[in-house]
């Protein structure tokens, strides 16, 4: 283990190749000394005595002669203890806030291991975020992975901050909560915006931040979400905390993966991304959840920007196949000045069905959500028609839909950055809007629910 290998055989992008290595193991960490500084690398392919190593800090300044390399005999591990809370780490999980090393209670392999499906607990607990379009229509459940699909220039960061600020993450039984924030390839001021917001809402001492910024090495980006999730797993499963993990931006992560794949000379699949992009992203997203025998949970809110707002791009597409729904932000809503610009039609929460309704939120919730979706979908058809024949020519009922659509966007979807609506307010608001339509149009509501909620307008007295 103390053998040092002098020099390299080949350097290609972020990868280096060493010859004559004995006793290397797959995915083992290595330490490469270049002049006075040390860099970390990981063995990603072994062929006899040849080892291909990805260098986390990049290969700048490395030549075939000026290095010596030492095998560390273990995979990349993350030091873990309760001291993590309130700390800032780099993309490899090493503290960069000048407060010294973490004294580890545990040290876990960052790659994690797959959760046995038998040991999972099916998530059913509603997290109120105070945002109507999420609570009412794409409900967030504790232990869910619910990404935000966004585009450059849209307000995904504000939305994430608002969720952190308002979400009732902790449970009534007193399990604590923590926030793990992983930045991958985002700009410095974006990371700073998050830090400030955490500070303002007074949760900074419960946040662990992992920062791999836009100018940090690309290879490091591959391990950033893994370090973050290892910390989250420790807090959730060892310390029984409810952990909310925010990861931004997954598109940068996938691009880093593509860059390494192309340096390795692998056969690309769609848009140059490697064929294993799905499996690789799954190994990150599937680390959300709840397990039997633990009170803690990991809820993930990954944020990704859709290149050219294209939802069929491989990154959002494959993400949607793995995650339990998605919240889609829309440029045309945003340009109308609507915040949060959530387009509810392609948005979805797969776990919502078991976490809402009687005993969770309110008995009318499933039907109201269904009806709002159906009616708003109809609004889109009417809008398309109106753009051809003009709004004046629409039938009476279609004009009601146009009005419903406007009110819905302006009063239900739109809400202030600091406005925190509870679930009853959200559902009552939904009813106020549905009353704009005649009962005969409300085909997703059962007669009993209509009887109970549609008419008692005056008693509620909202609006």
């Amino acid at each position: 283990m103390n053998v040092e290998y002098m020099g390299l055989k080949e350097i290609s992008g972020p990868l280096v190749v060493i010859d004559g290595v004995k006793d290397a193991s797959f995915e083992e960490m290595v330490e490469i000394t270049v002049g006075k500084n040390k860099r970390l690398g990981r063995i990603i392919q072994i062929e006899g005595e040849l080892c291909v190593i990805q260098v986390f800090e990049g290969t700048r300044g490395i030549s075939l002669e000026n290095t010596h390399t030492r095998l560390l005999g273990k995979p990349l591990k993350m030091p873990l203890s309760m001291e993590l809370l309130g700390r800032v780490m780099d993309g490899k999980g090493r503290p960069v806030d000048g407060l010294g090393e973490i004294y580890p209670e545990k040290s876990w392999d960052v790659n994690g291991e797959p959760i046995n499906p038998v040991m999972r607990e099916y998530p059913r607990n509603f997290i109120q975020t105070g945002i109507s379009s999420i609570d009412g229509l794409t409900t967030l459940i504790r232990g869910q992975k619910l990404p935000v699909f966004s585009g450059s220039g849209l307000s995904h960061n504000q939305l994430a901050v608002q969720i952190v600020k308002q979400a009732k993450i902790e449970d009534t039984e007193g399990a604590g909560f923590a926030i793990v924030f992983a930045a991958m390839g985002v700009k410095h001021d974006v990371a700073e915006y998050f830090r400030e917001s955490f500070q303002k809402s007074g949760v900074l001492d419960r946040v662990v931040m992992f920062l791999n910024l836009a100018n940090d090495p690309v290879v490091e980006r591959i391990v950033t979400p893994r370090c973050a999730l290892t910390a989250a797993e420790y807090l959730a499963y060892e310390k029984n905390m409810h952990v909310l993990v925010i990861m931004t931006d997954m598109t940068s992560y996938a691009e880093a993966l593509r860059e390494i794949s192309s340096s390795k000379g692998e056969i690309p699949s769609r848009k140059g991304y490697p064929g294993y992009l799905y499996s690789d992203m799954a190994s990150i997203y599937e680390r959300a959840g709840m397990v039997k025998g633990c009170r803690g949970s990991i809820t993930q809110i990954p944020i990704l920007t859709m290149p050219n707002d294209d939802i069929t791009h491989p990154v959002p597409d494959l993400t949607g196949y793995i995650t339990e729904g998605q919240v889609v932000l829309d440029r045309s809503l945003s340009s109308k000045g609507i915040y949060p610009p959530i387009n509810i039609l392609p948005s979805l929460s797969r776990l919502m069905k078991d976490g809402i309704g009687e005993g969770h939120t309110r008995e009318d919730h499933p039907q109201v959500a269904n009806q709002l979706f159906a009616s708003y979908a109809r609004v889109q058809e009417v809008k398309a028609l109106a753009s051809v024949i003009g709004e004046e020519e629409l039938s009476e009922i279609d004009r009601l839909y146009m009005n419903f659509g406007r009110e819905f966007e302006e009063n239900f979807i739109a809400q202030d950055f600091s406005e925190n609506r509870n679930i009853d307010d959200t559902l009552d608001l939904g009813w106020t809007l549905l009353r704009l339509l005649p009962v005969s149009e409300l085909d997703r509501l059962s007669p009993e629910i209509i009887e109970k909620y549609y008419k008692d307008d005056s008693e509620d007295g909202d609006f």
Partner: protein, 597 residues
């Protein structure tokens, strides 16, 4: 050690391991890799190198570690203890792995596939002196309350029974019968082994003329599936593939369900594990879990085992088919399996065909789907394996290679539609793009068992939907107000069909499963109103008047209002709608506004 071939690891690249050294490995042989004895399979043999795909995470493997041959291909154990259980992609029991390694699946956890300690109550059906052939039933075990597990003579064994034990309690290792085959004596236990990549033999195939009734109206009525058929459910994310698969797994009238969660979400497997023991099979009155086997290889579990999981699932299905059961295999999702092929192929540096998929993708897909079928077994029983494969096309685009190649080998195509899913119309089966080539074959069954007029009504329903499709193109341009009244009525009727018939609520106690008789009566009630209303429109009565009468809402709500076990209520409904429409007609006549015909 009896294993003769042995090599040492030379190179490692993800799940692909290169082996050198003294070796005589067979193609597709199962090998044990490294000191941890990880399970692997030989996928390429070269002159001085063998390539192995490893079914577990290869982190920490080192060159120089041994690779040991097992002398047999990747096999599964077939015997009592499968039913109601959950396995990973290579038939390792996940519940017992959890007992030993906790929350996470650790590697190298070699386990017995089936419980070896459990004693089964065995009823012996064979006697010494009997001459038995392959497939013949020699004993029975009550595996669960719903499933009677038949112990059969394994394929390729034939001879006279020399010894047989008495009825009693036995574990799976104990010999129950000895068969003398020529000079060889075979000791048969409750268990047999079978290589997963090889179809199990049967006597001959039978025509596919019995439907797999699913209780889902859009499927049973418009696009029916045969027992022994193959179907695909393609759809982009969020269109409800998994929900549809779960519905079919719950309500299809198969005797056995094999549910393969191939590269999908862990929580979906957990959901099945939580739901199925609570749900009651409407036919047997027993929990659905008693007739269900789960293969769970989630997206974050090793990719090579994902490739194998499909074969493991279908082999278990064929085994129960051999006992004379109708088995349905749900594979969710075959795209993940195809991607596993692509990943391994990429690491082998094979020349890719379309979108990086290997050139052998179509042949692998056809091999898989051809294992579906309804057959007569060697023991004289009839059984079937139906395959329902979900396809997850990239970007929701059905022109991608997996969807296109799958279409060539299936005959039932249930295309899920994003636009329908956005309006929360579930099941989001698009009635224009979907098809079933089994319909003609099933016509007789529907006439005899549902109603002689079933197919006529179905054709009429399809016709209205097709016509709506055409009219909607016009409406998009000019609005519906300008259409003639007859065409407005078509739009109204189509709306009734979409909302009242095609849409089905999986979470509603009555609507989640609808018997075929009720499906027929629902169509009948809709078409009655359609005919009668057309008569009124011909008299010059505007469609808006009919709409205001609430008759269409009566139809849309019948799926909730009429319970599955009270089909006589349809008479009441029909009388009511008839009365409403008659009243409209007589009011109009009285007011003298009726057109003379």
């Amino acid at each position: 050690m009896e294993h003769t071939s042995q090599g040492i690891i030379y190179g490692i690249n993800g799940p692909v391991v290169k082996v050198r050294g003294r070796q005589a490995f067979q193609m597709l042989e199962m090998v044990l890799v490294g000191h941890d004895r990880l399970i692997g399979e030989v996928i390429r043999v070269l002159e001085n190198e063998t390539i192995v795909q490893v079914y577990e995470n290869t982190t920490g493997l080192k060159p120089g570690e041994p690779v040991v041959s097992t002398g047999k291909p990747l096999t599964v154990k077939l015997g009592p203890g499968i039913m109601g259980n959950i396995f990973d992609g290579i038939e390792r029991p996940l519940a017992r792995i959890a007992d030993s390694t906790g929350i996470f699946i650790k590697r190298g956890s070699i386990m017995d596939n089936l419980d070896r300690d459990k004693l089964w109550e065995v009823k012996i059906l064979a006697e010494p002196g009997d001459y038995v052939k392959q497939g013949e039933i020699i004993a029975e075990v009550k595996e669960t309350e719903s499933v009677n597990h038949k112990i059969m003579v394994p394929p390729n064994i034939e001879g006279e029974i020399t010894e047989a034990v008495c009825d009693g309690l036995y574990n799976i290792d104990q010999v129950i019968v000895k068969v003398k085959d020529g000079k060889q004596i075979h000791s048969l236990t409750l268990v047999q082994e079978w290589p997963v990549r090889e179809p199990r033999p049967y006597c001959h195939r039978l025509p596919l003329d019995i439907p797999l009734i699913t209780g889902q109206r859009v499927i049973d009525t418009l696009f029916p599936m045969s027992k022994g058929g193959a179907a695909a459910i393609p759809g982009g994310f969020g269109t409800g593939k998994t929900l549809t698969q779960h519905q079919l797994a719950k309500w299809a009238n198969a005797d056995i369900i094999v549910y393969v969660g191939c590269g999908e979400r862990g929580n979906e497997i957990t959901e099945v594990l939580e739901d199925f023991p609570k749900l009651i099979d409407p036919r047997s009155g027993r929990p659905l879990m008693e007739r269900t086997v789960l293969i769970g290889n989630t997206s974050n579990m090793p990719v090579a085992a994902r490739e194998a999981s499909i074969y493991t699932g279908i082999t278990l299905a064929e085994y129960y088919r051999d006992m004379g059961y109708d088995v349905a295999v749900m594979a969710d999702s075959t795209s993940r399996w195809a991607e596993a092929l692509r990943e391994i192929s990429g690491r082998l540096e094979e020349m890719p065909a379309e979108e990086g998929f290997p050139a052998y993708l179509p042949s692998r897909l056809s091999e898989f789907y051809e294992r579906a079928g309804r057959v007569e077994n060697y023991n004289g029983t009839k059984g079937s394996v139906s395959i329902i494969g979900a396809v997850s096309p990239q970007g929701g685009d059905f022109s991608e290679p997996v969807t296109q190649n799958t279409k060539r080998f299936i005959r039932c195509f249930w295309a899920l539609d994003k636009a329908l899913a956005h309006t929360r119309h579930y099941p989001a089966v698009n009635w224009i793009n979907s098809y079933s080539e089994y319909t003609d074959r099933l016509e007789d069954w529907y006439s005899e068992n549902a109603d002689p007029e079933f197919m006529d009504k179905k054709t009429e329903i399809s016709r209205i939907l097709q016509e709506e499709g055409k009219l909607l193109d016009i409406v998009k341009l000019i609005g519906s107000d300008i259409l003639p009244e007859e065409q407005k009525l078509v739009l109204e009727m189509a709306k009734v069909i979409r909302q009242g018939f095609l849409q089905q609520n999986a979470y509603h106690e009555q609507d989640t499963y609808v018997p075929i008789q009720k499906q027929y009566l629902m169509m009948d009630s809709i078409l009655r109103v359609g005919t009668k209303a057309a008569g009124l429109v011909a008299l010059g009565i505007p469609v808006s008047v009919i709409r205001r009468s609430g008759v269409f809402e009566e139809l849309i709500r019948m799926k909730y209002n009429i319970p599955n076990d009270d089909l006589n209520s349809f008479d009441g409904l029909n009388n009511k709608t008839e009365r409403i429409l008659d009243e409209i007609g007589s009011d109009y006549r009285a007011s003298g506004r009726v057109k003379e015909v």
